[in-house]
């Protein structure tokens, strides 16, 4: 890449992907993770279309008969990106449905709190002590209870 426009565009696309994935890794709120996923997908699609660009070429649509007006940009990455954008919105819709379900179940969207309560719930349902806890479950190993179990102490 020796020309500045190409460098700027590639830097922009890579920057979007890095900001998106960094947002997923670093965020502590579940909704912000979904927003960062949106950004990462936009960046990845931009990277794909950048790979098919050609200088001084026309868009791949023939408006004046069968003969092409000149060299055209590559239509194959554009077809792939068309598919990818629609799949991205499907994934975002499913992620938001799951976030809504977590909210309705726990009442909070803070990642640390959701993680703690989820581990406590799973450990309580299975009758095993929490990972890292020094307590053993009271008595012998209980059957999966119908109601909340007693005797589980959080560390």
């Amino acid at each position: 890449m020796s020309d500045p426009i190409g460098q700027v565009l590639f830097a922009g696309a890579i920057g979007l992907v890095v900001i998106g994935i960094g947002g997923i890794v670093l965020s502590r709120h579940l909704f912000r993770m979904v927003l960062a996923l949106v950004i990462a997908e936009a960046g990845a699609n931009l990277l794909l279309v950048l790979a098919g660009f050609r200088w001084d070429a026309f868009a791949p649509i023939l408006t004046q008969g069968v003969a092409a007006p000149g060299p055209m940009v590559d239509p194959v990455p554009q077809a792939m990106v068309l598919t990818a954008i629609v799949i991205g919105v499907g994934v975002q819709a499913l992620a938001l449905s799951l976030v809504i379900k977590v909210w309705e179940c726990y009442g909070t969207l803070d990642l640390a709190e959701v993680r703690e309560r989820l581990e406590a719930d799973l450990a309580g349902q299975a009758g095993v002590p929490l990972p890292g806890s020094t307590e053993r479950p009271a008595g012998e190993r209980p059957l999966p209870p119908a109601t909340a179990p007693a005797g589980e102490v959080r560390q």
Partner: protein
């Protein structure tokens, strides 16, 4: 400690992506397949929009996979969100919003169908037109929170459109070609009735995507039980 690890991860990711894209020469793609498609595409498929020719003609099976993924995502989203709640908030929107939504509905529907049907001539196609059709069915729902979309009709349209897509593909197989090969006659280049089965395939895709997304939006817009209005 956590921030240091995250910083190292982000720097490493940026470095990896820069290495991978540093091989590219911006503006001179190798274009091995693209060159062939540009030369024989207009005669072989008959569509003026080469991206449509690739999406439906040369890579039709990828479009079928995309329809399946969208269907799975919309269905799973509907499952996760729970069944239809009957508690309605009852506060209707004002006169301007209701009239505006009623005026926008036929306009959005016409524009969406135009984009779907002309997908093989101008930029557009099934997915863009399907999104606009879904919005056309959803905007009156925003203005009248008491109304509800009939999910059975939406499911019926979606199922029939998806089945029509696969049926056209199987018909091509039955005529001795391959699955999803375009097979009707190509017509005049650049007119509305051209490019064989491509407009029919895009019509099926547009109706399916429109019905699916309208159902998903209606399901998301339902108020929760204890929501503060």
């Amino acid at each position: 400690m956590r921030n240091l690890a995250s910083l190292l991860f982000i720097v490493g990711l940026a470095f990896l992506l820069l290495l991978v894209t540093g091989v590219f020469e911006f503006g001179n793609p190798p274009m091995r397949v693209g060159q062939g498609i540009q030369q024989v595409g207009p005669q072989e498929v008959g569509a003026a929009n080469l991206v449509t020719a690739v999406v439906l003609g040369y890579r039709g099976i990828d479009t079928l996979g995309e329809l399946s993924i969208l269907f799975a995502a919309a269905t799973a989203g509907g499952f996760v969100l729970g069944r239809h709640r009957l508690a309605r908030s009852g506060a209707e929107a004002g006169f301007v919003l209701r009239t505006g939504a009623d005026l926008l509905f036929p306009l959005l529907l016409v524009v969406g169908l135009y984009i779907v049907l002309h997908g093989h001539l101008t930029p557009g196609g099934g997915f863009q037109g399907g999104v606009i059709i879904a919005t056309a069915f959803f905007v009156p729902l925003l203005a009248r929170p008491g109304a509800a979309l009939d999910h059975r009709w939406l499911a019926l349209v979606e199922g029939l459109a998806g089945a029509a897509f696969i049926a056209i593909g199987l018909l091509a197989l039955y005529r001795g070609g391959e699955f999803l090969q375009p097979f009707l006659e190509k017509g005049d280049f650049g007119s509305l009735v051209s490019a064989g089965t491509l407009p029919l395939l895009y019509l099926a895709v547009g109706l399916k995507v429109g019905a699916e997304l309208a159902g998903l939006l209606a399901r998301l817009a339902e108020p929760a039980g204890e929501e503060a209005a």
